[in-house]
Amino acid sequence: MALQVLTANRLRDGEVVYLTRDGQWSADFASAHATEDAEEKDKLQTQAEQSLEATLIVEPYFFDVADNDGILSPIGQREIIRAKGPTVHPHFGKQADLLNAARDQADV
């Protein structure tokens, strides 16, 4: 069975979020929990349904990821773009936070 991560959009602002190992929703792909275990996926799906009820997220689904020496990466252009932001606006989306963090670090 494929290694997968559970993702959704946050209800309040549509932000892309990922389910973490401790059952929280994180906007950071690096915090996502990946599994290939069918039973565990069922549990994650149940957590997603509870989050839907709690009006935290919308439209949850699993997608395939790759594990390269412990570092996860999304498979497919669509999920790569969801994990970073629009390639045409590097200062918008999640990638903007990384840019700002790098800038802050450079300023220190």
Binding site: N9, L11, R12, I75, G76, R78, I81, R82
Partner: protein, 558 residues
């Protein structure tokens, strides 16, 4: 009304009251969604009816701009919304609307309230209903026009807004109307296209074209009536919609558009059904009295034109003295019906930028320029540019200098870098491949403006999926993004056209990778330049020489 500002259609009490009520209703619906009282399944159709989509990274709000006509005051409001509620920019669309890519759900009711304050809304910009009726961006000022088509667009807007019978059609429904011989509104690829014509008595009316469309099944519309008298405009639309509503398929969304119905029934049978329905309603309440047409026409009265010589000498001198201004004049101006005036296009396609995007400060600048030079009016084009429709020739040089200050003076209207592109995989939930960066790379490849002018008129159109929002089927060069095992590939079609010679492009061969597609476009352009005779345009050249030289250039012996 301030002196010099042109009258435009203004909301009456009914319009304002129903838009205000809708804001209030949607505000309540959002609150109920956020509290959990409404599920997403219950909320989704409500948000879509108010133009609110959920895209890849965020919500997207599509705001209606009826027939692409905006006042400077409305444009300033759009700038304010971009700045206050979004991320400092807006994106103009092929339905002459504007989209915001980053609104927060809880703030959308506030945005709608801001829009209502300037007689705007987002109603019927989504869903299976009659969408914003589009028109010729040069309506009312084109030298080749019979009558201003916006009068009929406005009548259609009033008729179709919250029309109870047509709120849940089999699929979305798009109407375009032009009053000119030169088709700038792509009427033959709409569900209904209306082209104004004169009959043998010299009376103005409409040729009625039905069943055109793009998407996964591109079809050129069929003429079902050569001449429709103006007083029957609404009753005939109603008859077409009734036939579609009754017979259109609802079991398969990919076969639900009217083009599929016209094809399934045959154009003769479809026409017979429409004419039969029309006979029963044509003299009823939908018949348009001349007085009502005149009442709406008054809202689109020409501004107070000055009596000017047909050519302004200072303008000619500036054009002669300044080659960059001369290039802008050549590409971006269109002939005005009033002596001494010009139609000025503002390109939203600068090198390396997203087609159709404008920043909040640019939107404000355009509003100021509209007030200064164009009687406070702006048009949006379906090719994702803007127009100032009433500029005196004597003001053109000053306007161009002001546009340069705002980075809005790109002289490329109708040239290879004036690309239509859908939002593509950078934003859109449906897309298979990116569109915008392909457009950006093409503009960079053809950055030399003189080279673009040497190539001449060339329509490049890019869609990120088969839904064809970027109109690729009707580009001289069409580019369709496809997904092959998670990788972006691009299929190239040649020979499409959206004007009075509407044509669907033909696939030239196997798709190109993201890295190779710009080289392929350049190869097509070079083949055209190498083979054209005199001023032959792209499609004429292609018709003469066929696809073979293009295939040879792109694929060699493979």
């Amino acid at each position: 009304m301030p002196r010099g500002i042109k009258p435009m259609y203004r909301y009456d009490e009914f319009d304002q009251s129903f838009v205000d009520q809708r804001v209030s209703q949607f505000s309540d619906q959002v609150s109920r969604r956020l509290s959990g009282e409404l599920s997403e399944e219950e909320f989704r159709p409500l948000r879509l009816q108010n133009g609110l989509y959920l895209q890849l990274h965020a919500y997207m709000l599509r705001v209606a701009v009826p027939y692409g006509t905006l006042s400077a005051r409305q444009m300033r409001k759009l700038a304010h919304i971009a700045r206050r509620y979004d991320r400092g920019y807006g994106h103009f669309t092929t339905r002459q609307n504007i989209q915001y890519n980053w609104p927060l759900l809880e703030e959308v009711p506030d945005i709608l309230a801001e829009l209502a304050a300037v007689e705007m809304h987002a109603i019927q910009t989504s869903g299976n209903c009659i969408r914003n009726t589009t028109s010729d961006q040069y309506a009312g000022v084109a030298a080749d026009e019979i009558e201003d088509p916006r009068v009929y667009c406005e009548i259609a807007r009033q008729w179709s807004s919250l029309h109870p019978e047509f709120a849940f059609l089999p699929r979305k429904f798009k109407i375009a109307i032009t009053g000119a011989e030169q088709d700038r509104a792509a009427v033959r690829v709409h569900d209904i296209g209306l082209q104004m014509r004169r009959n043998l008595k010299g009376e103005a009316g409409f040729e009625v074209i039905v069943g055109g469309g793009l998407g996964r099944t591109p079809v050129i519309g069929k003429t079902i009536r050569e001449f429709l008298p103006k007083q029957h405009f609404l009753s005939y639309l109603e008859a077409i919609l009734r036939v579609y509503n009754q017979y259109g398929r609802r079991d398969n969304k990919y076969k639900a558009r009217i083009k599929i119905l016209v094809n399934a029934l045959g154009v003769e049978e479809f026409t017979r059904l429409v004419e039969a329905e029309w006979q029963s309603i044509k003299d009823g309440p939908l018949a348009l009295p001349q007085a009502e047409i005149e009442r709406i026409k008054a809202y689109f009265a020409p501004p107070g034109y000055e009596s000017l010589p047909s050519v302004d000498e200072a303008f000619l001198q500036a054009r002669q003295d300044n080659p960059a201004f001369a290039r802008w004049v050549k590409a971006n101006l269109a002939e005005h019906k009033q002596p001494g005036y010009a139609i000025a296009n503002i390109s939203l396609k600068p090198v390396g930028e997203a087609p159709g995007d404008a920043s909040d400060s640019q939107l404000d600048a355009i509003a100021d320029l509209a007030d200064r030079y164009s009687h406070g009016e702006i048009r949006i084009t379906h090719e994702q540019n803007l127009v100032l429709p009433y500029v005196k020739q004597a003001d053109l040089f000053a306007l161009w200098q002001d546009l340069k200050e705002a980075d809005l003076a790109t002289a490329n209207i109708g040239l290879v870098s004036d690309i239509i592109a859908c939002p593509g995989l950078d934003y859109c939930n449906l897309a298979n491949a990116r569109s915008i960066p392909v457009a950006q790379r093409i503009t960079q490849r053809f950055e030399d403006l003189q080279r673009q002018h040497d190539i001449g008129s060339l329509k490049v159109k890019i869609s990120g999926c088969i839904n064809a929002c970027g109109h690729h089927h009707v580009g001289n060069i069409g580019i369709l993004g496809v997904d092959k095992k998670g990788q972006e590939f691009y299929q190239i079609t040649l020979g499409g056209s959206a004007d009075q010679n509407t044509a669907i492009g033909k696939i030239v061969g196997p798709a190109f990778s993201y890295d190779d597609v710009v080289d392929a476009v350049e190869g097509v352009v070079e083949t055209y330049q190498d083979n054209r005779q005199d001023d032959e345009d792209f499609n004429a050249c292609l018709a003469r020489i066929g696809l073979a030289p293009f295939k040879e250039k792109l694929y060699g012996n493979h």
